[in-house]
């Protein structure tokens, strides 16, 4: 039916009393998400949006049985908030916060690696399983329940892709924004693997962008282990080189940072790559027709 989240997912919102946290917690509640608690250090015991607020995630877990956390904490404190969630044995941590220093994320990764938790993000729109739950900042009403999985490094570009799908009556099983930062908790491959195991998902849309080699690695995974059709797009075909990556950044990745190289590898691995962002919905429709 969906990956990683469902109707039963019990959500705690870290940073619930802040402007962003409060606004989006309300939107998630309105969508029907089972939000059970909020956390803001120093505000434990209060009530916000009709939910109990706790000082710590651990307390929220004990009192409300929360198993998933969504983070709206400002960048200087966000890494600590993620680590706190992981140490409180939250299964799924979704970090919306944009602007966390890379060195903080290195520490987060070390902690994450030794745990059972999954992190989605940071700097991402979150995750939604249409009709079941929405944990993040995406507009809920553009989504439609169905059988296509969406994985993306971008926010609004994902909405664009989802819009094209829903317009054609193609629903989504789950849409995951994995985030645009150099270090993120969930990769394309993690999400592809989960969609592969989800019987309900029939096809996947994968939206990448320039920088790093995540798209190439995902393409090789699709070729060797993934047996559902994938439609892909890479943003930044016209981006000027040198404005985005450090001098040596491309070296580590053996020079594979450009959109052209990513698209070519994806194509070689059997992904249906579209050049225009306006063609995502149509390409997916074609792919589904062929499958029947």
């Amino acid at each position: 039916m969906s990956i990683w989240v469902s109707q039963e997912t019990r959500v705690v919102v870290q940073g619930i009393t802040g402007r962003e946290g409060s606004f989006h917690a309300k939107q998630c509640l309105d969508y029907g998400t089972l939000v059970v608690a909020g956390v803001t250090p120093g505000k434990g015991g209060q009530e916000h949006l009709g939910l109990p607020v706790f000082d710590t995630v651990r307390k929220a877990v004990i009192e409300t049985g929360a198993d998933t956390s969504v983070i709206f904490v400002p960048p200087p404190f966000a890494a600590d908030a993620i680590i706190e969630a992981v140490e409180s044995e939250i299964n799924l941590v979704i970090a919306i916060t944009e602007g966390i220093p890379v060195q903080d994320m290195i520490k987060v990764w070390d902690c994450l690696k030794e745990s059972e938790s999954r992190l989605i993000g940071p700097n991402c729109p979150g995750i939604i399983s249409p009709g079941q739950c929405k944990i993040g900042i995406m507009p809920g009403d553009i989504h439609l329940s169905g059988r296509v999985g969406v994985i993306s490094r971008s926010g609004t570009l994902t909405y664009e892709a989802v819009h094209q799908l829903s317009q054609r009556d193609i629903g989504q099983s789950t849409c995951v924004g994995i985030g645009g930062d150099p270090i993120s908790g969930t990769s394309f491959i993690d999400a592809l693997r989960a969609f592969g195991e989800d019987e309900y998902t029939e096809a996947v849309v994968m939206i990448g962008e320039i920088g790093g080699t995540a798209e190439e690695e995902a393409a090789y995974y699709v070729k060797s282990e993934f047996n559902k059709p994938v439609v892909g797009f890479v943003a930044g075909q016209t981006a000027p080189p040198g404005r985005r990556m450090g001098h040596a950044g491309a070296i580590i990745s053996q020079g594979k940072g450009t959109a052209e190289e990513k698209m070519s590898t994806m194509r070689k691995c059997g992904i249906e790559v579209v050049r225009s962002p306006a063609d995502i919905g149509e390409a997916l429709q074609e792919v589904l027709k062929r499958e029947v």
């Binding site: 602007g99 890379v102 909405y159 943003a235 950044g249 580590i252 990745s253």
Partner: protein, 384 residues
């Protein structure tokens, strides 16, 4: 954020990384005075935020103070064009005068964050003074990498691997270990995203020295590195980009004629892509951000049309947190205040889209309203 070589060397020096003696100057007279203090041969190095200075004539070796003065005279105020500056080049307003050293061997050394292992990595190569991209293309096997466990730091065995891999004398391993440890400390404690020492040299006296140094910093960490943030050199940046950054807008100037305003970086890049596919050329990348106000949209629009190359504007907003009515209000305000003569194509979708379209329809300004991304791109390219 980028800084100049002389600034990077001052930072590294403060962490105990050995660098040549030198001083930055802004006039030929100062260059003369500094060079005279060093006695022998000195290097005169143009300070701009771009590589390839040597080939472009921005680095000279002077035999004496008189010569240093004349080199400084010719370099200061000149425009240096390298493969990294673009054809317009950069005007040099400072030169670094450095004491000459006798070079015995040259190497490459780099420190950055590896996306795959999610840890810092040291890269080293025996091909010093050559661009590392070049080495990666021709002889990738000559690039050695050691991933650092941040809880342990750089280990001696790793330094031994690097030293023997690049063919450094056994007797210099201890010195390389100290050098790398200081470099790593500087990397961590300044929130650098990259440090590049190219070349790292061994002098004839057997010392290890950072002959050149380049540092980039993580913009997300500048809030806690105010001493680094102060090193920002506005002269190295586009005027419109500086203006945009003051408003918290993410703007990059390009050389096309279609100005674009989009919310979200991914959609902004995709919009540039579809403009190109429709036969136009994007004039810029502009992400107005997630929760922009009417004021912010107005600022963005004004920056966009301040670029003289812009012949038409495409506004592509997918409202999520950002509401379409806010965007519409900002655009209408900006256009009525500035009085735009060029065609403006607007595509709105998402949160409060009907209210947004209504504001556009009811304004006295004539916008071209598009109903999809493709439609918008085609309309704007036809209007250029």
């Amino acid at each position: 954020m980028n800084i100049h070589e002389y600034q990077a060397k001052a930072i590294l020096d403060s962490f105990g990384v050995p660098v040549p003696n030198g001083k930055v100057v802004v006039s030929p007279e100062e260059a003369f005075d500094v060079a005279r203090e060093f006695e022998g041969v000195v290097a005169v190095k143009a300070q701009i935020h771009a590589g390839g200075r040597g080939k472009a004539g921005g680095v000279k070796i002077a035999r004496n103070a008189e010569e240093a003065k004349s080199y400084a005279e010719s370099i200061l105020g000149s425009t240096l064009v390298t493969h990294q500056t673009g054809p317009e080049g950069r005007v040099v307003s400072r030169v670094l005068i450095e004491e000459g050293v006798q070079i015995s061997r040259e190497f490459y050394l780099g420190l950055l964050v590896d996306r795959n292992s999610k840890r810092p990595v040291v890269m080293a190569s025996r091909e010093g003074g050559v661009e590392i991209e070049e080495v990666a293309r021709r002889n990738p096997e000559l690039i050695l990498k050691e991933i650092i466990d941040p809880r342990v730091g750089l280990e001696e065995s790793q330094v031994r691997n690097l030293a023997s891999g690049i063919g450094l004398d056994d007797g210099l391993q201890g010195e390389l270990f100290r050098f790398l440890n200081s470099l790593y400390k500087a990397f961590v404690e300044t929130d650098a995203s990259m440090v590049e020492i190219n070349p790292l040299i061994v002098t004839e006296r057997g010392e290890i020295l950072a002959l050149d140094a380049k540092m980039n910093f993580d913009d997300n960490a500048l809030y806690r590195r105010t001493e680094i943030a102060e090193l920002r050199d506005y002269e190295e940046e586009e005027e419109l980009e500086i203006r945009a950054s003051k408003y918290g807008l993410n703007y990059i100037k390009l050389d096309g004629s279609v100005g674009c305003m989009v919310n979200g970086a991914g959609l902004a890049m995709a919009t540039m892509d579809i403009i190109k596919l429709s036969g136009g050329n994007p004039a810029n990348f502009l992400d107005v951000g997630g929760g922009a106000s009417v004021e912010q949209v107005k600022n963005a629009f004004q920056i966009l049309i301040a670029d003289e190359n812009v012949r038409a504007v495409l506004i592509n907003i997918y409202g999520g947190i950002m509401r379409c009515d806010i965007v519409a209000q900002g655009v209408v305000q900006a256009v009525s205040e500035v009085g735009v003569e060029i065609p403006v194509v607007v595509r709105l979708e998402g949160t409060n889209v009907e209210e947004g379209r209504k504001i556009l329809r009811e304004s006295t300004i004539r916008f071209e309203v598009a109903d999809s991304m493709r439609d918008a791109a085609e309309k704007v390219c036809a209007a250029v």
